[in-house]
């Protein structure tokens, strides 16, 4: 872009959000160029600059977002939305430059509504901050992902995030009532005032998971819950994962625990041994159940009876409590994979009739094709009908050359996700698609992809919203 036009656009953006909230300084551009995507971190680690936005803007509300999008549409320049930058799929990387729209100034808590049991807040609020606000009134959001302290409300919504007590309380798409969204043309809309209705398709579900390609979420009503009277834990050791799947499926037809987490033999022998202290071989599973004490007593009885039927060794509550205390430790340096390793989480989800087959097929595909790459997994989100695999690949010595490292990275991902798709899985469970997996979206959806493409064409005819993400 020539200097004249650049300056023209800059002055218009400054007018829209205020000079102090519109930056072209290198420090702001660099800070928004590297997210939690392995490729962006590797690129920086090799001393290479990632693609940067040309204008970093921080609007304070939907009205300012609207002004920014009108300017972007007029000049036909890309807009990439950034929340906390904690995404793993490169969804927030401004690969085409243009405007980088940071949502964190939209962090107001507008209402803690104890009648309606929700908090209304700006999409840029750090989730931990709304959890604190709920705690101050004696409630909880019950959304406890490992990224709770670094990611925003909008970030979780845009990528369909999930936390560790999901089986009882749901995924982020279950936790939101109404949303305010700014469409690419600058129009500000609200989704329906309640999510469970028959007034046509649910608008929330069109924008949740859309990763900034169809609009920008600016406000949301997030559900709050009463704190449970008791929260109990029980650790179990299964001889094999098949028994654990059978036991869990049966259990879920009777009641919903809050935490259900099953580790394969490899993760049990590594992470669980190191952090929780379980030294025996097998597949460790932690179950938490919570609520009113009388109900929890009954649930405990059902849990012990059901799991005993499938030969699970009852390890008591100690390991489970330790797991809860250390639930974030799993993701801290020293426990989590890190550079110089190459790694990735190929989370996928499927019904019980397919999920085990997918696990074994992915493990075989990765370990056969790449003998130097390890494959480990746990299963962390469970439903009456199926479960998700949090499967990770780890390569200890990736190529030093960034181009070669990127090629290998993408190849491994294609192998893993394509295998999941071939056996009935999906592109992703809760990290989203970003630029990392966009190429595989058409493979999952086939002709159904035209629905997304139609929405994109209609809402964003100039294709300015987060280009090359989500396969759109």
């Amino acid at each position: 872009m020539n200097e004249f036009l650049f300056t023209q656009i800059l002055t218009e953006l400054e007018d829209a959000v205020g000079k102090e909230n519109c930056s072209t300084k290198l420090v702001d551009k660099v800070a928004h160029s590297v997210d939690y995507f392995w490729l962006s971190r590797m690129w920086a680690d090799r001393g290479r600059e990632m693609p940067m936005g040309d204008f970093i803007v921080s609007p304070k509300d939907a009205q300012e977002v609207s002004k920014v999008l009108k300017i972007a549409n007029y000049y036909k320049i890309p807009v990439t939305t950034w929340g906390g930058g904690g995404g793993t799929q490169g969804g927030a990387i401004p690969v085409c430059g243009g405007i980088l729209l940071d949502t964190k100034r939209m962090n107001q808590i507008y209402d803690i509504n104890e009648q309606g049991m929700y908090i209304e807040c700006g999409a840029g609020a750090i989730y931990k901050h709304i959890e604190w606000a709920a705690n101050e009134r004696g409630y909880s959001t019950m959304h406890f992902p490992s990224s709770l302290t670094c990611s925003t409300v909008g970030g979780f919504l845009a990528h369909r995030g999930i936390g560790v007590v999901s089986t009882k309380y749901g995924k982020i798409d279950d936790m939101v009532l109404q949303m305010e969204v700014v469409l690419p043309n600058g129009d500000i809309i609200n989704t329906s005032s309640a999510p469970k209705h028959a007034a046509g398709p649910d608008l929330n579900q069109i924008f949740i998971g859309s990763e900034g390609t169809l609009g920008i979420i600016t406000k949301a009503q997030i559900r709050i819950y009463i704190q449970p009277e008791v929260r109990r834990f029980r650790g179990f050791l299964f001889k094999n994962m098949h028994a654990a799947f059978e036991a869990s499926r049966e259990l879920l037809q009777i009641f919903k625990p809050s935490v259900m987490r099953l580790y394969d033999d490899a993760e049990t022998a590594s992470l669980i041994k190191k952090i929780v202290g379980v030294a025996k071989p097998g597949a460790f599973m932690n179950i938490a159940y919570e609520g009113k004490k009388e109900l929890v007593d009954v649930e405990e009885k059902i849990l012990l009876e059901t799991f005993a039927k499938y030969g699970a060794e009852d390890l008591g509550s100690e390991y489970g409590e330790k797991w809860w205390e250390e639930k974030i430790t799993f993701f801290y340096p020293g426990h989590m994979m890190d550079l110089p390793q190459m790694f990735g989480t190929m989370d996928t989800i499927a019904p019980y009739d397919k999920i085990e087959e997918i696990y074994w097929a992915m493990k075989k595909a990765i370990e056969t094709k790449y003998p130097n790459i390890k494959f480990i997994a746990h299963f962390s989100h469970w439903y009456e009908w199926g479960a998700m695999i949090y499967d990770r690949f780890i390569c200890d010595n990736p190529p030093q050359d960034p181009i070669e490292a990127m090629k290998l990275h993408n190849e491994v991902w294609t192998t893993g996700v394509r295998t999941a798709l071939a056996h009935g899985g999906v592109v992703n469970d809760h990290h989203g698609v970003g630029i990392k997996l966009g190429r595989l979206m058409k493979e999952q959806y086939g002709p159904a992809m035209q629905v997304f493409e139609g929405l994109k064409k209609s809402l964003d005819p100039n294709g300015i919203m987060n280009p090359f993400k989500l396969g759109l």
Partner: protein, 365 residues
């Protein structure tokens, strides 16, 4: 860029887990991505590798309050302040400091204080105090922030301490610990020299009561690291007040007034003291805590930064008031002049902020 191996290692050690984002008082106030520990580490790392230039990161280094909330939250023991302070030294040595930082340093050269000339009223009050409390074995080390920005609180402190100890005094030559200079320039020859001069002056006394916990921590940690030792016994104001109350030299009455402590980061995180402030409250009233206390305490303001980023400091103070308001904490008690001044400037209607010494003074028997 010349920085020590230790600082370099700290900058390169951020593993991007971002678990500290939610606790940065500056990032939480201005919503800017550059104001988190990870962004600073990334920028410094790029400069170390020669990808970016030192001048590109200069302003950002001065947007950190050094409150240590991120370091306190880092499970790997990583401390961004180490490289931030060394990078500042490089910035100064290479003359790449922002204009507003140059102005503060010029103030220091011309007036001996980064804040520039004091206003007339404060100057007169200080002079009066210096005359009234000119001799004694126990020195109140007022410190740069209180002397320049909160002289009224100093007066109350002297009044209170003199009730419990006959020999409290102020000493103009022992007021500058070098903290401000260190904050702005890191460890330079001038900073160390300033600290040494202050230490010499302090050694004339039997005991030194340090008013500002940030400077107490500076004396206990940085001075010690620089080989500056003190003969005088050094204590914090909280400790001194507790001692006077426990030994019946100060007689207080206990009421049912609720007080909420604004834990200062230096006491809570650097000096491992989360009890003295609360013990003082318990002597005269009832502790009513907010969320985010003890080592997790949120900073409520920093006076040097207020000189060049007042709008952000206003938001920092407002955020802390929000914590208080959400928990119905009507009276905040501060341990540090920076937080006292800035919370007071932004006090919401129906709420009150007082210093620890003011609280004790209000409840003398």
């Amino acid at each position: 860029m010349k920085i020590s191996d230790k600082a370099r290692q700290q900058a390169e050690s951020c593993r991007f887990c971002w678990m500290c984002r939610h606790v940065c008082p500056i990032g939480n106030a201005d919503g800017q991505e550059r104001n988190n520990a990870r962004a600073r580490a990334l920028m410094v790392s790029y400069v170390i590798r020669g990808t970016e230039k030192l001048e590109d990161i200069a302003t950002n280094m001065y947007e950190c309050s050094l409150c240590g909330a991120c370091a306190n939250n880092c499970k790997t023991g990583w401390d961004p302040r180490l490289f931030i302070q060394e990078v500042k030294t490089q910035i100064i040595l290479e003359g790449k400091e922002p204009e507003y930082i140059r102005k503060l340093l010029d103030n220091y050269s011309s007036c001996g204080a980064v804040f520039g000339k004091m206003d007339k009223g404060a100057q007169q009050l200080l002079q009066k105090m210096q005359e009234e409390y000119s001799d004694g074995k126990v020195l109140l080390l007022a410190g740069e922030m209180a002397v320049n920005k909160d002289a009224e609180s100093l007066e109350k402190t002297l009044k209170l301490l003199s009730k419990g100890s006959e020999s409290i005094c102020l000493d103009k030559s022992a007021d500058n610990t070098g903290y401000s200079l260190w904050y702005l320039t890191g460890k330079t020859k001038e900073t160390v020299e300033c600290a040494r001069k202050c230490a010499e002056a302090l050694n004339k006394y039997e005991k030194v009561v340090v008013y500002n916990p940030v400077e107490l921590s500076f004396i206990r940690h940085e001075w010690k690291e620089w080989g500056i030792t003190l003969k005088a016994r050094v204590v914090g104001l909280n400790e001194e007040l507790l001692d006077l109350i426990n030994n019946d030299k100060l007689k207080v009455r206990k009421s049912d007034i609720e007080y909420s402590l604004q834990d200062n980061f230096a006491y809570a995180r650097e000096l491992d003291d989360v009890t003295s402030g609360r013990q003082l409250i318990e002597k005269v009233g009832i502790v009513k805590d907010m969320l985010l206390i003890n080592k997790e305490a949120n900073l409520a303001g920093q006076l040097i930064m207020n000189e060049y980023m007042p709008n952000t400091m206003k938001l920092v103070a407002k955020n802390r008031w929000m914590n208080a308001m959400n928990m119905g904490c009507k009276t905040l008690v501060t341990e540090n002049p920076d937080e006292h001044v800035l919370l007071k400037e932004n006090v919401p209607e129906g709420y009150k902020v007082i210093t620890v010494e003011e609280m004790v003074l209000d409840n003398l028997a």
